[in-house]
């Protein structure tokens, strides 16, 4: 019934694009944290997190994203979030995180294909 959680990473013109699918909740968020932690380095301080195939997101997921964002900024980079599902955007809105994250609704908008 639930979509299988999966994370895929690729480099797009030198920028890591981390694509996530399925539900990101207390059970799966730690895997995302690990992936982001490894992907964000002083040399690679900006990343794109593609949430286009995410079906559910809760506070632990947001916590992971905020933690990753801080890490990016510490290294002088930025964390871009790609999402176009109204329900997922809503969660960012009600926590005020739309003001914190650069959120775009397609991969082309961040220059990633």
């Amino acid at each position: 019934m639930e979509q299988e959680f999966h994370i895929a990473e690729r480099l797009d013109r030198g920028v890591p694009v981390i694509s996530v699918g399925g539900e990101i909740d207390v059970a799966t968020a730690p895997q995302l944290r690990e992936s982001l932690h490894l992907a964000i380095t002083p040399e690679q301080s900006s990343v794109v997190v593609d949430l286009l195939n995410v079906t559910f997101l809760d506070s632990t997921a947001l916590g992971v994203l905020v933690g990753a964002l801080k890490r990016c900024r510490e290294f002088g980079g930025e964390l871009h979030v790609v999402v176009n599902d109204a329900r997922i955007v809503k969660i960012f809105e009600i926590t005020g995180l739309t003001k914190v994250f650069p959120i775009v609704d397609s991969l082309t908008a961040v220059g990633a294909s």
């Binding site: 109204a86 809105e93 609704d105 908008a109």
Partner: protein, 254 residues
């Protein structure tokens, strides 16, 4: 359940017994009567597998064929109750039906069709009712049962369609998000910060932002005014805001 032993896979038990039984001649009146008498049982067993998404007719057909096979193989002298014997055979055949690869393809196609139907029904009902529909209303509109509708929502296929179709409204995610920044225009400090940042943007971005936030045009009105699609306006606004945000510098910690 019967004297003939343990519940192994139905196939093996039936095959073992088939070898030992004397098959009855096909036009045997007793055999026909036994089949007729147990058609109801076959139907009931078929219904137990309804929740897997196959049409009832197909399931009843599989169950009926299995019933006939049971009648052909049955030997009353073994002291086994026919109903119990037939039940095992029928359930075995029904399970085998679902293991068939063809089913997986049909099921997946059926599920995709349901998602499409739900998407359309959601937007239609939303417009008709002036509010979001309930699961019961979606179930009535699509003929899918409540569980299927809820599963679709769990799989992320419910509301999403409505949000795309409702892009004309001011409640779409991009508009709502921009609304937060709009409120920022009202706060004196932000406006002070905003104007110099705004002036650094290319003219096209300034125009779009001005149309949206100062003149208060909706995305569709802007789209008509500048001759592009509303989706395009949405994208332009997003990127203009991104540029603006970058000009304004990082947000203070929340």
């Amino acid at each position: 359940m019967t004297a003939s032993g343990e519940d192994g896979p139905a196939g093996s038990t039936v095959e073992r017994e088939a070898q030992e039984n004397t098959p009855l001649p096909p036009d045997n009146v007793e055999r026909d009567a036994m089949i007729t008498k147990h058609l109801g049982l076959a139907q009931q067993l078929a219904r137990r597998f309804l929740h897997r998404g196959e049409p009832l007719d197909d399931l009843v057909q599989v169950a009926s064929v299995a019933l006939v096979k049971s009648a052909d193989r049955f030997d009353p002298e073994r002291g086994v109750d026919f109903a119990a014997f037939a039940t095992r055979t029928i359930i075995g055949e029904l399970k085998r039906h679902f293991r068939d690869k063809g089913w997986a393809v049909r099921a997946s196609r059926r599920v995709q069709e349901l998602y499409l139907e739900l998407g359309h029904a959601t937007s239609t009902l939303t417009q008709q009712l002036g509010r979001n529909p309930t699961v019961a209303e979606l179930s009535a509109a699509t003929g899918a049962d409540e569980e299927a509708v809820i599963e679709a929502i769990e799989a992320g296929k419910g509301y999403r369609a409505a949000s795309i179709d409702a892009s004309e409204s001011e409640d779409d995610p991009i508009s709502a998000r921009l609304g937060h920044l709009e409120r920022g225009f009202d706060i004196a400090e932000d406006r002070y910060l905003l104007d110099p940042a705004l002036a650094t943007l290319p003219m096209r971005d300034q125009s779009i932002l001005r149309m949206r936030f100062v003149e208060g045009l909706t995305q569709s009105e802007i789209a008509t005014a500048i001759g592009v699609s509303q989706m395009h306006v949405s994208r332009l606004l997003t990127s203009s805001l991104e540029k603006l945000r970058r000009q304004m510098g990082p947000e203070p910690a929340q």
